[in-house]
Subunit: 433 residues, 2 copies
């Protein structure tokens, strides 16, 4: 194998991607380069004898049948949504976190999509569900599912994130022994399909005085939010499908509002009412839970956008680097409610030096975006950071910068730079830098 | 509502998209424009009284809890994979069709992805599964799942299609009363994540005489195919993830070969062996089932690419247009194993006139690509066609053109233009033009 030298791009082992990949990843046993050589530490001539000896029992019998609706392997049953422990122990208000550190790519499996339910999941009979558009409109309208199915639809891959995602890192020095699922489990990515709301509003005829829309769900608590009309006319949809199939009960079956890039709880599930108004309704949730408390104690009542943010998923909290040293691919996700991700930088030395990560295509607006960076770990303490910049020029703040602008007990819309500490034994933990 | 005139772009009601959308879709009851007015045929002032009267029982009680791994609504249980009836009634060889006409967007839910199993689904213990690379290499290698997990991965959205998809339209005048699932159910789209094979081959050290690779699965019948080395070095991956989670048993858990744009059965599931050689092995399946029979009776032994193809999914076979006449959005999927889709044309008059369909972003290479076209159905017989062109300049042939180049009993790689006949009663049926 021709040896190519691998160039460093920043401190503590961050490597140039091209020269890393061209090097043959230096993985052969003869190179003795650590964990990535695990495969090669046990090679040897594969003779026809060793092949026949390697036949496991499942190669000697017919397999079983497929099913009408497939499921993951039983061997992957540890990859599950988990109920956030700090939320009330009730089915009424509950927060289920996605195992984001097990995800690869930018699509979250629908079965693992995070879900926050303010009043539990209603069991809606779809043929009786009605969406109403009323208020400041020329023609109040009602739609059932069948009639909506006839409208032109669009599909887009977008992230959805709860305003409270990563809240525990905002407010205090929480336990450092937390997984990415525990800290960041309220972010997911899907292909959402539905009807641009502008079509329905055009049909209803919006009056000149209209400025806001009160969106309400058909759940037991009628979760509702006030949303500026302009945003809904821009890119919001009545979502009927997620990842190619009808939206699931925990995501609002038979329909939800989808408001790309804006905080999760605005994306009203089980949507049954859109009231066009000239002012916000100051509903329970927008005046309380989902308002931000600033440094001077004042309330920033409406904070719609989810800001630019990123996370290294591999490696991340509670993972263990399987070898003492060697080559790893750092991989993670970045996203912004303001548009596309433009730049992700990674540091392996706690922020002293940074290098530009590779961003994987497709780079889509208001979508999870995958980045990666080759890294040679030298087996000593390291602190990994990622810092995303979006096309609007917004840059992730440090934790201290974010906290300086918010009250000590404020927790929504936290987007500080995440730090993972790697100990010399390979343990990965949440940390603050 | 300001009325905008809707321009025609081709015969029998195909409409200009921009003027159609700008028209307010002419959906209000006062326009009396048919099915899209279904919603508006029952509007009326929505008073506060009618709102309170409309509270269904699920708005009066708390909902139920989410689950650790979510499932679709029980109300959607009719959307399922179906076993192809013409295949043997056995779990050993089976073909499960995806309900492609129920899909929106370009992602197929993993639970509904089509699956062809030559020897059933083996129940593999992942910790004992080994991938071997041997033959014309400097260093034969073995990899277990854990060691592969450390390699750099890529993610891409690609289609996967069985060589035999739509075979029944190739060989004879089959029953016209068939759904898109029955005819086209062996095509699906997913985000696939895995390790570029070139990294592993670089590590193994490919010898100069190497030209082919024999890929073999760990199923009971050791399904295997010979694949040109150049393709595997180009864009093939060892796929470990599908749609963000570990690949499912019916898709090759714990790993499969993924060969973008090439016929499905080359994408060896439960992959356990890659033997680098200087010639093909002429395995059972490549010499038999998956070779194409040409018009002169000769065999075209290797036909790897899946050719440019398209399908209108809405409306499609067994669907019923719910109103006698009016506006519809024609929507469908196009794909090509040679790269990106460049153009999709639609005809509503059986091919006499054509118009360019709108192609939805993202337009990705070797991926399902969604197209749409507004249509005003006048309530009489119509024949809808779609014709895709890819960036390599390949154009879908007519059925007659395709059949002229193949033996009458040849059925693989059929990509003729699909025709749907709409009767005056709104019944949609497969037809030949």
């Amino acid at each position: 194998m021709k040896k190519t030298s691998v160039k460093a791009v920043a401190g503590n082992g961050l490597l140039d991607r091209r020269s890393f990949l061209m090097s043959g990843i230096a993985l052969s046993a003869s190179c003795s380069l650590g964990p990535l050589a695990a495969s090669a530490s046990k090679p040897g001539g594969v003779s026809s004898q060793s092949i026949s000896e390697s036949f496991p029992e499942w190669m000697k019998v017919p397999g079983h049948a497929a099913t009408e609706y497939g499921q993951p392997s039983a061997h992957e049953s540890q990859v599950r949504r988990h109920l956030q422990k700090s939320a009330p122990e009730t089915s009424i208000f509950s927060i289920w976190h996605t195992p984001i550190e097990n995800q690869r790519g930018i699509i979250t499996p629908s079965g693992l999509h995070f879900t926050v339910n303010h009043n539990g999941i209603p069991d809606i009979a779809p043929q009786r569900h009605v969406l109403m558009i009323h208020g400041l409109v020329e023609r109040p309208l009602k739609f059932d599912v069948d009639s909506l199915m006839l409208y032109p639809m669009v599909s887009n891959i977008h992230f959805l994130e709860c305003a409270g995602n990563t809240a525990s890192n905002a407010v205090s020095l929480t336990s450092l022994d937390q997984s990415a699922q525990e800290l960041f489990g309220q972010i997911s990515g899907s292909e959402w399909t539905g009807i641009p709301l502008k079509h329905l509003f055009k049909e209803a005829g919006i009056k000149a005085s209209a400025k806001w829309v009160i969106a309400e769900g058909a759940d037991g608590g009628s979760h509702s939010r006030s949303i500026p009309l302009d945003k809904l006319l821009d890119d919001a949809i009545i979502a009927l499908y997620q990842n190619g199939e009808r939206i699931r009960p925990s995501q609002g079956y038979p329909m939800r509002l989808f408001v790309p890039g804006w905080e999760g709880n605005l994306n009203i599930k089980w949507l049954h009412r859109l009231e066009v108004t000239d002012q916000p309704a100051y509903t329970k949730d927008e005046s309380g839970l989902y308002s931000d408390i600033l440094e001077d104690g004042k309330i920033q009542r409406f904070s719609f956008h989810m800001d630019v943010k990123s996370l290294i998923t591999h490696p991340s909290g509670r993972q263990l680097l399987p070898e003492k040293r060697g080559f790893y691919e750092i991989s993670g996700l970045a996203w912004s409610g303001y548009g596309k991700i433009k730049l992700v930088e990674v540091s392996a030395d706690g922020g002293k030096t940074w290098a530009r990560a590779h961003i994987e295509s497709p780079i889509l607006p208001k979508s999870l975006t995958r980045f990666s960076m080759p890294w040679r770990w030298n087996g000593t303490d390291a602190i990994l950071l990622s810092r995303a910049t979006d096309e609007a020029g917004r840059v992730q703040p440090t934790r201290d910068q974010w906290r300086a602008q918010h009250a000590s007990y404020s927790f929504n819309h936290y987007n500080g730079i995440q730090a993972w500490h790697i100990s010399s034994s390979g343990v990965v933990e949440n940390c603050y830098v």
